[in-house]
Symmetry: C2
Amino acid sequence: MADSGSKLHPLDLYDMTAAEPRLGSSNMVDTFSYDTLFSEGSTDTPLNPGLHAKYDFATAYPAPETLPLDGLIQSLQAAVDRDSTKVLAELAYYPHQLGALELREYTAEKLAADRGFTVTADEIALTNGSGEALGLVIQALTDPGDIVLAEEFVYMGTTSQLRRFGADVRGVAMDEGGIIPQALDEQVTALTAAGETPKYLYTIPEHQNPMGSTLSGERRKEILKIAHKHNLPILEDDCYVDLRYKGDVQPAFRALDDSGIVVYVASYSKLLAPGLRLGYFTASPELMRRALSFKLGSGPNQFAAVAIEGYLRNNLESHRDNFNPILEAKCDSMVVALEEHFGDSGATWSIPEGGCYVWLTMPESSDISTIRDKVFDQGVGYVAGPNFEADASGRIGKNCARLCFAFESVEKNAEGIALLAQLFKQHGAM
Amino acid sequence: MADSGSKLHPLDLYDMTAAEPRLGSSNMVDTFSYDTLFSEGSTDTPLNPGLHAKYDFATAYPAPETLPLDGLIQSLQAAVDRDSTKVLAELAYYPHQLGALELREYTAEKLAADRGFTVTADEIALTNGSGEALGLVIQALTDPGDIVLAEEFVYMGTTSQLRRFGADVRGVAMDEGGIIPQALDEQVTALTAAGETPKYLYTIPEHQNPMGSTLSGERRKEILKIAHKHNLPILEDDCYVDLRYKGDVQPAFRALDDSGIVVYVASYSKLLAPGLRLGYFTASPELMRRALSFKLGSGPNQFAAVAIEGYLRNNLESHRDNFNPILEAKCDSMVVALEEHFGDSGATWSIPEGGCYVWLTMPESSDISTIRDKVFDQGVGYVAGPNFEADASGRIGKNCARLCFAFESVEKNAEGIALLAQLFKQHGAM
């Protein structure tokens, strides 16, 4: 072996004749430095510590008490009892890039029944949650510097992926009914005239995150017309559609248009459980192939897929019938508490027909963003408005917060909102 | 709404007053063209059709009959019976970026017991199979044009990811004992002298894919010394370590070195089932953070994690005691059949101590790469050597094939090898 000079090598410290591996000890050797080795595209991003306030209105959880854990396990067992060879073969194979066939077939049936459009199982790709689906489509459509449009306040998980892949995200004006079609048309026209033609539009049309708004069918048709006029694909994130407890479901963009201009993304995370990590998307064939070429590894886990398919095929209606009244009661308790404790403050809030979120808007002069950590430490978690700002400019949202009403109980929603009002007063925010 | 001119828009075809969404019909509208919209980095890659030959020696499957399906489901049910609130909470939360804590704790215990090194649960990240782990680490360490070293024949899933992220992969000379340390040292020295300093080394030291070779502890120590001399991190892929049925396990690179120069990747896909999609990695803290910043979404599925942790905590030894004799019998039947049918052909083959693969080398003049599709159609699947060539140069491997002995039965291994010899003769390859 080559001698590398007089400097003692870390390995010289080892007994080179020892048969047994040495147990690790962090003081034995120099620490290897990666300083010159990290890729230019990598960033040293702290991990999320995963903390939760006593009253957790911060993050996007469905109601845990409705999670059909026994039903999922029984469905898995039933699939094994029915045909263990088939289930064994599915688990013993690396999943197809599109994911488990049975769940894709079920998903196609569900989309036809619930969302009014027909695709085949081979036109659906299952993913590790809708986050992976969005990331794959974004990579297939985004070059660094591309302008991408989204609602002016929108899910930060998507905008952070958009920025990571180089998009310059611009917010589109909204009102309580979601994106304002005419504002979209004027914005695209102006951007195009300035040589900044936007690449596509990302939108959550049903029970929007964080605003809770739903686009009417009429607005969707107008937006599709604008999209075709400007050659602007629509990336439709329909992950909350199953969580409607009042009002009428609106047609998916995808159900109104077969041209391929709509990419449809959805998820079983909200209907069943985030921890199952099963989302999906459907798009025109070449876009699907290009998106899937960005996958790191094969399709998502078959174990959860077998359980989900078996459970939902027999229990979708009863599950939703159980689930949505609970969501409604939780929403009601939060809204009633907001009326009681914020009614005189000049604040306004959205009253959603489904989903998980109420969007609280305090008077313009109120800054509830900078006091967020203090309020969290004192017991109430929320996500401050600037986190959702599409263009991350810091211009708007300091007086706003997303309140998730779905995770805590009816009682804790009421208690938490009372405490929130008290803390806002304490910190001079109302 | 602005009028976009005289051309009829696709949306004009719709009844804009209809309350109901329209069922999809692919002939209603023009097909939207993405031709100018795909990202420069995207490629139109066909999906894998997922075909299997009658005798499937082609792909990397463990023995499906050993998959503890009932045990996994019972473990999941037992975890629910023990503490349903805890399991509910885990499934109802989005997984931590590192994945389920209990499985990380178990993995840390398993690494200490089986691989002789100690890390904490917070130094382990669970991933959607080891493919995701490798993809994340590769992104954190690779800039386009970087030279990365790997065994001269090596797992194509990794080399395809390396190339996707811009690596120029170069093969390191091997013999039946794996990488030849002196060859590595000379190659790195020569590359560095030519201004082409390699960035890191990717290696599968135990039951290598596709060669079946295992690096001795002595060679690993020599390679670590070379790695420190040249500032060359080692990306250690230990996914086959649980699949040893004879001989002595060799120390992991990671167990021989605490400096951070070793990134350790492994998986539960081979020990339990690929369809569970649970791999993991551990690396120095900043490298882990940078790698995880490339994740599309949160940690892997909690459902499988709960089942795996519960099952392995109680059954690891009995599972391996059941699993590995079956693998050995399958390997033996393939090797005996090779002796019987290829003994006079001038062919050689590896005789592994574990894993899933025999590497068949026909005489230099024999080309079993170009006849692969014909042989597949006639009933025997294998992966031809050039698919594993590290640098994809097409220089070597046409006379080689990877034969997976783990998926088919003992009987089918014998029958399939007999048929393979007959087909090679028919196509003039022996």
